[in-house]
Amino acid sequence: MKTATEALKDFQKITPKKIPAVEPFSKGHRACQGCGEVLALRLVAKAVGMDMIAVSATGCMEIISSPYPQTAWEVPWIHVAFENAAAVASGIEAGRKALIRKGRIKDDGAKVVAFAGDGATADIGLQALSGALERGHDFTYVCLDNEAYMNTGIQRSSSTPYGAMTTTSPPGEKSKGQMTWKKNMPMIAAAHNIPYVATASPAWHVDLMNKVKKAVTIPGPAYIHIYSPCPTGWRCGPEVSIETARQVVKSRIFPLFEVIDGRFVLTRDIKKPIPVSEYFATQRRFSHLDENDIAYIQKRVDDDWDRLLSLCQVTADEPPVEEPPTGE
């Protein structure tokens, strides 16, 4: 597979001096103070541009952006339900493909982008996402991961990190909070052998936008997993939102990487990681954890990092998978 590599040959990077001025997602929405998710969404929208067709799963971003008759979307946008943003996006892509081929609409180069939270991605929408990725639709799926069902009141999802307190994973006599390790969505997406997968954090906004730009440039499905701080749900101050998004990367908990045509590439090496405890310190959702819990998490984070480095090494020189023969 060399779809992504070829499409990115002449890739024009977004630089700090050339941040797109467009705002497909406008101000005046109803997100909480310090919301890292809406910031990530805005950055994605800027990187895609005004020729985006956006699909939102039910969730915070849908609710805060579209209380009729007001909308924050300056581009065509559709919300259908919780679990099906990927399926809806695949329908839009298929419909447009047919209409363009039949000459009924012009090929305006519009980019279909689906947005969903972690619950809508890793839990209830996983099947629809897997189907759409497997079918190879030309669309980008953006998971805005705030690590729980925030819209309904901070319930745990399979993307909630180990140990975190939520309203359905409360710490107690017989519980440490979330008892399971965070589901690894980027790896699940990569297992579909799609051309492009990336992780991003709003603390590295230029990196985030470039990954989005790559995703929409490459034909076929792309998946971007964006860490999206939620001060309301994480019990931290709105002023530490971006700092949290930086610490999660610096602690190696949330590595920034790309998977381009199956090759894993670390986009930000963390040579001197901060301890995970430093990341936990500002968030009350972790305040109940004791030294043993933190030591366990630290060990597992270190192991996962090593595993990712190994993947980067072993896939670096892999020859591209042969494309299937074309022809009618």
Binding site: P69, P76, I78, E83, A87, I92, A94, R96, A98, R135
Partner: protein
């Protein structure tokens, strides 16, 4: 020129979708719908139909993809049955709420449990309130014709609603029938390309599926309700146009030998054919009996129905689904409510039959009539009776 062909009804349904130049078909296989989507896949694979066939991973995604496709302005078709239709349930309301002109063929099949792949109407009767236009076909020809009509109605700017065409699983889907197959020019003359009133177009951005706060939700639902009610004259208009174009005429309610009949059977779907034959036989035996067939189920044609039963003394409602915990099947419950609101006091009986593929024969109809005659004479009611239960 139309051709006379012998064709399996599922294939005729797929050929009708081809005549309609569908742009997108998103479907998931389920018996007895499979032949419809298999044939559509072939038509696309062979280049006979220029469409995107989206082989989704579930019926929920099928209807979700249809919503996306129709919102993008593409003519969109899907088909399902029973469990598949139930899995779509959530999306069916959204498709009509977003006013998207999706057309679906429902190959009617019973709902589990126990699992049964055979025919009854329990699948669609669980979806009565989805806000779609819903029709029931009696024959293969009718299936073919209703498909063209369905797109015509759905996409009419005065309607903008999804349409479900019901055809009985196996009894219709897997039967080979002689029928008139229109040619492409005739179909094109009846059904021009879909021009959406709005679509997901970057040149003219719209937001679809916004949050309905308590201040607007009721009004949004009212608007959808009115849209469905107002589709009635358009549905009739396009049947009249169909008759002019193709010479086959359809009405919301059909009647058979209802003149001077004391007792009328009320049926839906393919059972109408058997009932018709049974009526002929009973007439020969001197019985004063006729038949009313409901073709248009949603929006329900109240006045047509009342006119059809105006001269009768007794009505026999045939249900092919149960409504557990209520005194009758879904059709009978609704029709009795209608009679009440119209101030019509008459003897009514309800028989539930043909569940899970159980055959309903002419003898069954004769048996029902005998029971009704006895009950009516004795002044008894037949609130609801399941026919042929082995006890």
């Amino acid at each position: 020129m139309a051709r006379r062909v012998g064709l399996e009804v599922s294939l005729a349904c797929a050929e009708a979708v081809k005549l309609c130049n569908a742009d997108v078909i998103a479907a998931y296989p389920i018996t007895p719908q499979t032949h419809i989507v298999e044939h559509l896949s072939e038509l696309v694979a062979d280049g006979h139909l220029d469409a995107e066939f989206v082989p989704v991973e579930s019926e929920h995604s099928a209807m979700s993809a249809c919503v996306g496709s129709a919102a993008a302005g593409a003519r969109t078709f899907t088909s399902s049955s029973a469990q598949g239709l139930a899995l779509m349930h959530e999306m069916l309301f959204i498709a009509s709420g977003l006013r998207l002109p999706i057309v679906m063929a429902v190959a009617n099949r019973s709902l589990s449990a126990p699992i049964s792949i055979w025919n009854d109407h329990s699948d669609i009767m669980a979806e009565r309130d989805i806000g779609w236009v819903q029709t029931f076909a009696e024959t293969g020809q009718e299936v073919l014709d209703l498909m063209l009509h369905a797109f015509k109605v759905a996409e009419d700017p005065r309607v903008c609603l999804p349409v479900a065409v019901n055809l009985d699983g196996f009894i219709l889907t897997h039967v080979i029938e002689p029928m008139e197959m229109p040619d492409q020019a005739e179909a094109d003359a009846y059904l021009p390309p879909f021009v959406p009133s709005q679509s997901l177009d970057p040149a003219a951005p719209v937001s679809m599926g916004m949050v309905g706060m308590p201040e607007v939700y009721t009004e949004a639902k009212k608007a959808a309700l009115v849209a469905l009610e107002d589709s009635y004259p358009v549905i009739k208009e396009h049947w009249e146009g169909f008759a002019e174009q193709f010479g086959r005429s359809y009405k919301p309610i059909e009647t058979y030998r209802t003149e001077d009949a004391d007792t009328l059977f009320v049926t839906m779907g393919s059972l109408g054919e058997t009932c018709m034959t049974a009526v002929d036989e009973m007439r020969q035996d001197g019985k004063s009996v006729g038949q009313v067939r409901i073709r248009l189920w949603r929006p329900f044609p109240d006045e047509d129905f009342m006119a059809a039963i105006a001269g009768a003394k007794n009505l026999i409602f045939i249900d092919r689904a149960l409504s557990p915990g209520v005194a009758a099947g879904p059709v009978a419950t609704e029709m009795r409510a209608l009679l009440y609101t119209k101030g019509k006091n008459m003897f009514t009986a309800n028989f539930v039959c043909g569940l899970g593929g159980r055959d309903v024969t002419r003898t069954d109809f004769a048996g029902m009539l005998a029971k009704v005659e006895a009950a009516a004479a004795a002044g008894n009611e037949i609130t609801c009776e399941m026919v042929g239960v082995k006890e």
